[in-house]
Every structure is written in C-alpha cells, then in structure tokens.
C-alpha cells in the first residue's frame, strides 16, 4: 500500500470498518453510492454505525440495504422518503435520524474536507432543524452555525481511478462523492475502471489522489433501479 499503488481487495477493506464508526457515504438516491462497498460493509458484520450521507437510498438500493438491517444507530441525511423502512425505524426509535438541508449537509462535509471550522447561514433559521445549532451574531444579523463534518471512513464511487487515487466521476454519480472523499481519516474508493498513473488527463481529475487510501475494482451496480422494475415489489 504505497503512495503510488493503493489497489486492494474487498477482504482487506472489511478490516477498515469497525463497530460504532462514523461512515460517510457518497451518492444521491443510490446513484453514485458504491455497490460493492455496501456489500462489503454488510459482510463485515459491523454494527452501531453512525451514517452520514445525502439520503437513505431505497430499501434495496444504496445505503438503504444496510439501514434495513438495523445496524446503523444514527443517520444524518437530508431525505429518507425513498426508504420507508428508515422512516419506520425512526418512528420506532430504532434509528436516530437527524435531518439537514441538503446543500448545507454537503457544505458541512466539504468544510470538514477542506479543514474549515464551519460556516454561517440563515438557511433553516427558526425551523425545527435548527433547534440545537448555535446562533452567531455578526453585526446586526443572526446566523446559524453549521459545524464541519468528518468521518472515520468514507466510501466513494468513481468512474475511473488511477493507482494513486486520482478520481473522476460519471455524470450525476458525482454528486456528494468529491467531498465525501476528502472528509474522513480513511477513504475507500470503488472504481469502475482502474488505470495506471499518468493515464488520466490532469485537467479532468476531480479528486486528487492525496485523499484516497484504498481502491477496489467495481463490478457495477448490483441492484435494479426503481424505474427498471416491472412493479414496485
């Protein structure tokens, strides 16, 4: 595992996960959530995980698969409507869900990823989502303080990675992945294609490899999208 060759296998990645860890995951409605790493997370047997990501996926898609197993203790997300199981677990007290405005959440992850100590915004002021957030007065105006987010482990889905971990993404599968990749102590990338260093155009790299610890080869999405199903079963 040198600076310049970070390719590994799913078995090695399993040992990166641990009970009670804070796990950041890329993806938006499952699009851009790394399918092989979700299975790897499930196989690892870890529990009491604190999840941070855009949403709860669908029950059979993305992080939804793991959430449905009741092995997450908390979820910080902007939306769980596509995964009714998450809502049920929340209402039953089995999953503590904290909601964040979607763009604020990804900015908080970015703040963690770029080493800033949080930011101020008026978004959400006066709503239930703001109840425990510090108010900061600057001049005559009051703002909500949004704290930076960092994790123990981040899982990310890339279209291409070189062996150093330089990443680029595919269309809307980019979404939160670039900042999720920057915000944890250990970042694991699942890539559709792994190429030698020097094969990527330096202009097209979205995430420089400096943030990446492990790279595994993807076999692509292993779930059906909702719109691919003949019925909603």
């Amino acid at each position: 595992m040198s600076l310049f060759n970070k390719i590994t296998d799913y078995d090695t990645v399993k040992s990166v996960f641990f009970d009670g860890m804070t796990l950041l995951f890329g993806g938006f409605g499952g699009v851009g959530t790394p399918p092989g790493l979700i299975d790897c997370l499930i196989d690892s047997g870890v529990k009491n995980v604190n999840l941070i990501g855009n949403d709860a996926g669908f029950p059979w898609i993305g992080m939804g698969k793991f959430i449905c197993m009741e092995r997450a203790q908390t979820l910080l997300a902007s939306h769980i409507g596509s995964n009714p199981v998450a809502g049920d677990l929340m209402n039953q007290g089995k999953l503590k869900v904290e909601f964040s405005p979607q763009g604020i959440l990804v900015e908080r992850i970015r703040a963690g990823g770029v080493g800033l100590d949080g930011f101020l915004t008026e978004i959400g002021k006066g709503t239930k989502l703001a109840y425990d957030k510090p108010l900061v007065k600057i001049g005559n105006k009051e703002f909500l303080y949004e704290a930076p987010i960092t994790g123990d482990v981040s899982i990310v889905y890339a279209k291409k990675a070189d062996t150093f971990g330089n990443l680029l993404f595919d269309k809307t599968a980019r979404n939160t992945n670039p900042y999720v990749a920057m915000a944890s102590k250990i970042t694991v990338v699942e890539a559709d294609e792994i190429v030698p260093m020097g094969s990527l155009d330096p202009e097209e790299i979205i995430v420089p490899g400096i943030y990446v610890k492990h790279i595994v080869q993807s076999k692509g999405y292993n779930w059906k999208w909702k719109w691919e199903m003949t019925d909603n079963a």
Binding site: F28, G29, G30, V31, G32, N54, D55, F58, A77, S78, H79, I80, G81, S82, A86, G87, M90, N91, V97, F99, S100, P101, Q102, G103, I104, V106, E107, R110, T121, E122, I123, G124, G126, T127, K128, L129, D170, K171, T172, A173, R174, N175, T176, N177, P178, Y179, I206, Y221, W225, K226, W227, E228
Partner: protein
C-alpha cells in the same frame, strides 16, 4: 385527482418564461415540462448536479444520469455536470429564476411546510430550504384541500415549517394566489369553481384581486 395534478402542472407551466433557469421539485412539479410552450428555451437545473436537464429518455436509461428524484433524464446541448455543493451554491446565490415545489401547507404570509408529517410521513427536507432561500421566485403547487376537505392554505401552518415568507405564488386545481408583503391575493379561479368553493376551503385570509380572472390553460 390525477386530473387535478395535471391541471395544476399545466397552469404552473405558464409561469416558466423564455430564457429562465428553472428548478422543479418532486411530485406535481415534475409534470410541468410536459406542458411547456414548445417555442421557449429554458434550462432546468437539478440539485444533484445538472444544469441543462432534458426529458425522460425514450429508451436505454442510464443509471448514472438522473434527476434529484432519482429518475432517469437526458441532457440538452450546453448542459454541464457538477457536484451537489456547486448545485446548491447556484441555488443559494440566486441563480434560479423560478423554483416550483410541491407543498403540504402554505400560510397566509408565504410560510412553506413540505418536509414532514410528524409521526406519519417522514420524507425529509431535501433541498427545499435552500430553494426557498435562494430562488428568485418560489411557486408552491398542491391540491387545494386534504382528501377529507381540510384546507391546506392556512393562517398558520400546523406542520413543521420548511422556510418562512418564501412562497410567492400558490397554484391549486381551484385557484391561483399570489403573496405580496405577507398578504395573500386571489388572482385566478378555475372556471368550474365558485368563489364560495374557494372561500369555504381556504383558511387563510385573502383579498380578491381587482384583476381577478378565470384560470385558463
């Protein structure tokens, strides 16, 4: 009910003008593109990371090219992909000319409630707070009443608020209201409904526009 949703979307489509940057929420707003004047050119933005979204693909949908609801889309010439932080940067910065959102309730002062029905539905807040904060114009679409007839246009929302004083226009299958200086004005009534149909099923106080019109499609 299906008809109502189509009718609301059809009326909402008239708010979209040539050259606008438009963000559509999930639910009824996602039907708006079906009713756009084909002679106008607009750019649809999606908060997962597209500017220049096109229609649903006829075939061969791509799992990595979807709108913010996770449904497959296409792109038009001039489109760009970016990360969601930038997508919301655009929204907060005021680059969206009109945001059309679904609503659960709207108050007389333009407060929007659309993210949770405590103990029942828990969709989550998504990007609605940022859209309410940043869009130059925010239009709320909803059916006029609950299924049991209870009004959704209220003096004060009973559901948790998404954002305060943000809705500028409400479009239902019965009427169109505008909200100016925290005051609600009835601008249009759908021809099949009477003034009493509106008054009895709208809790919020409103004034009637001197230019009140029938809603045309």
């Amino acid at each position: 009910m299906g008809d109502d949703r189509q009718r609301i979307a059809q009326r909402a489509a008239r708010e979209v003008k040539d050259g606008m940057i438009v963000n559509l929420g999930i639910g009824i707003p996602s039907l708006v593109p079906d009713f756009l004047d084909p002679s106008i050119q607009v750019f649809f933005q999606a908060e997962n990371g597209i500017l220049g979204m096109g229609p649903t693909p006829a075939s061969q949908a791509d799992g990595n090219l979807s709108n913010a609801a996770g449904l497959p889309v296409t792109i038009v010439p001039g489109a760009s992909y970016f990360d969601s932080a930038l997508a919301f940067g655009m929204i907060r910065r005021g680059c969206i000319d009109v945001s059309i959102l679904g609503a659960l309730q709207v108050s007389v002062r333009g407060d929007l409630a659309n993210w949770i029905v405590p103990g029942k539905r828990v969709p989550g807040v998504g990007g609605a707070m940022e859209l309410a904060y940043g869009a130059k114009n925010l239009i709320a679409l909803m059916t006029h009443c609950e299924k049991d007839g209870r009004p959704k246009i209220l003096q004060q929302c009973s559901l948790p608020i998404t954002a305060f004083h943000c809705v500028k226009k409400i479009i239902t299958e019965r009427a169109v209201f505008s909200i100016q200086d925290k005051e609600m004005i009835l601008d249009e009534i759908t021809p099949e409904f009477t003034m009493r149909d509106i008054q009895n099923y709208t809790e919020a106080d409103f004034t009637i526009s001197p230019h009140l019109q029938p809603t045309t499609s």
